[in-house]
Symmetry: C2
Subunit: 399 residues, 2 copies
């Protein structure tokens, strides 16, 4: 995957640090982005502006040589890691080996990210390496602006996501309403009706994503009171007339880039209060989408959604920071190697730039009525924005 490190080069030049170092596995997206190497266990990366060096176990050496962005690949065994770990313990051996590796590269001072391990930082400092923390997370800032290749990966993940959303919607649409008000489907062992659960819909979503080359982390299929808690993943039988929030955020396996979208459904009639909240949320979505353009700030897009809700008399975190009902989260977030990354559409949201990929996802929550959220994923373009999920209908009631 192509990447641009200009802002990192600028930071190194401005601070005078010899290098930027990361110690993490590729589950840390900054490590994956900087090193280009996908490995589960932590490994050490040093970027000097002139080159990239990685230090890995012997087991990863072959792959690192072939697959990473590194100009230099070194092995722990070159620095007698195993012998030192037996003598000094693993933690001390690790810091000592890293210090020797940096010394070989001529690195006497380094920046590290906020979440660099303190044990290693302390060890490097004891060994005489100056370690300063990059409090602005330059690599996450760099990652916010996507190349065309990265955008293509997000587009593919979005196509898979729409297929999974359609599978979920079809399953809910095929359900019948039982006498007790639960949704049921004819999937019992003898073909009899069994409750349609959150878990069953998630399974359908996840299998569909797998068939489209995407992996899953979590999926939200939350009904009724569950749906009124934005972070509740949902469980148990789905109920007729209640809102069902379906929020899917898959990762394309090959590229590791994500997509993210949400729709809210109801089956078998619904309350006027829910319909009103759905329509208002569609209005907030539209207002926020209209505000997305290069030069606008994430704070302005968030304010556009808050304006709609507050004008209709609903609390937001802007009008009441302790609100537990109403619009109780930010309007969106960047999407890329992480499902939540820069830029944020929140009160502190900074300027949007072409190549940013963001969700726009207003919602209203109240345990008495249920939850509603509608989420599109959008690319900030030179002259406005491109809504990747605009083609997926926004309709509450499905029959």
């Amino acid at each position: 995957m192509t990447r641009s490190l200009a802002a990192l080069d600028d930071l190194l030049a401005a601070t005078g640090a010899d290098a930027y170092c990361i110690d993490a596995g590729s589950a840390d997206s900054n490590q994956l982005y900087l090193s280009g190497f996908d490995a589960p266990d932590p490994f050490f990366t040093a970027y000097t502006g002139e080159g990239l060096a990685v230090l890995v176990s012997g087991l990863e050496y072959g792959r690192a040589t072939k697959e990473s962005h590194a100009d230099t690949v070194a092995r722990l065994s070159t620095y007698d890691y195993a012998e030192r770990a037996a003598d000094e313990g693993q933690a001390a051996a690790q810091s000592g080996v890293y210090a020797d590796f940096l010394s070989d590269l001529g690195i006497e001072s380094t920046l590290v990210p906020e979440r660099f391990p303190v044990g290693i930082a302390d060890g490097l400092r004891e060994a005489g390496v100056a370690v300063d923390v990059d409090r602005d997370d330059v690599i996450e800032t760099v990652r916010a602006t996507k190349t065309d290749e990265e955008l293509d990966a997000v587009r593919r993940a979005t196509e898979a996501n729409e297929a999974a959303m359609a599978a979920a919607e079809d399953l809910i649409a095929a359900a019948e309403v039982a006498d007790d008000g639960t949704l049921v489907i004819a999937e019992g062992e003898e073909g009899e009706a069994v409750p349609l659960t959150s878990e069953r819909v998630k399974e359908e979503i996840e299998v569909t994503l797998l068939r489209h080359g995407c992996a899953l982390d979590e999926t939200i299929v939350a009904c009724g009171a569950d749906a009124a808690d934005p972070h509740d993943r949902g469980s148990g039988p789905l109920e007729a007339g209640e809102s069902i929030v379906v929020d899917i955020f898959p990762r394309e396996k090959a590229s590791k880039y994500h997509s993210d979208m949400t729709r809210t459904f109801a089956k078998g009639g619904t309350s006027d209060a829910l319909v009103e909240r759905f329509d208002l949320t569609e209005e907030a979505l539209s207002a926020a989408l209209d505000a997305v353009e290069p030069g606008a700030t994430g704070a302005e897009v968030h304010a556009a959604a808050c304006d709609v809700y507050e004008a209709a008399g609903h609390p937001t975190l802007r009008s009441d920071p302790d609100a537990e009902t109403g619009f109780i989260h930010s309007t969106g977030h960047g999407v890329g190697l992480d499902v939540h990354e820069q830029p944020g559409l929140n009160p502190r949201g900074e300027e949007l730039e072409p190549g940013h990929v963001i969700t726009v996802e207003p919602g209203l929550y109240d345990p008495e009525v249920g939850g509603v959220r509608i989420e599109d994923i959008v690319i900030v373009t030179e002259d406005g924005s491109e809504n990747l999920t605009a083609g997926y209908p926004v309709e509450l009631v499905i029959e």
Copy 2:
């Protein structure tokens, strides 16, 4: 999930530290174990021996109150996080809020794990909190010994894993050998034969795991030269006569506990060299399994496998630390919330105890012949061991 924190209490008493603190999301298994709270974004946990306190965003407050082990749940907004982030920046605000939270709890000194974020550690130290690094990772040590409830979770994940292995084996067994030596299956759009790929077998494994309540991270289905690199996940068409290493390590979604097993298959005849390596690996597996009992060390179990390979003239990392062919990894590792955790079956492996869950997975690798690995998952018991995957056949050639 029940857990025992006696060793952590002992460490606090021995060091005199007021608390043990973690800042991480639940992807960090120490955080998940200590807090009992499953949340994707980092949150702050302070354990004092007398109680557990967590500090979370408002969005997570309700769930944390209901679902975590915490005696005290506090919100970032109580410490004016948003206002401070706007004034001082997010990193400084975070450390400042954590310092105030610790002050309210009467905590002046804390231990933190090796991988605690250096940015926060530096911030706490500037605020006058003494931060010392626990270089022995006490929580990972505690986690190594499982309760019956944890063992049951591993057993369920193992049952799912055996079902996924059988699905993979069935798919390979159903393949035919094409004229060019690739394996093919009748799955084209018109029912015609198409190549059976590593990706197709992984999809079958992953869908089977989902149907059994397990999530997947990665799966290895590696053939021929790919199989000769123990960390290569495999790709492309499978070939007749070549070894196909299938290594599956699922996580049960509900409990988050893993299982892990490997079998090596070949379809359509195979070389004598491969059969010989397979038989030798089965012998190494048997020798290592025989060595597993309470009081034996991980180093002794590893040595038992090395002995078999070296006696047959194959290099191991014991006989040659830079070996690139032969037995080039450790004999196994603990399995639990992490797929790789304590204890290790390697030259530094310490004493095994009842309740440890370990893999035993010798293997031989050579790009000229292919790779072979056979992996069982085993519980260390009071009087020996229980092999959870003993019922799954160990057979190379499938027809």
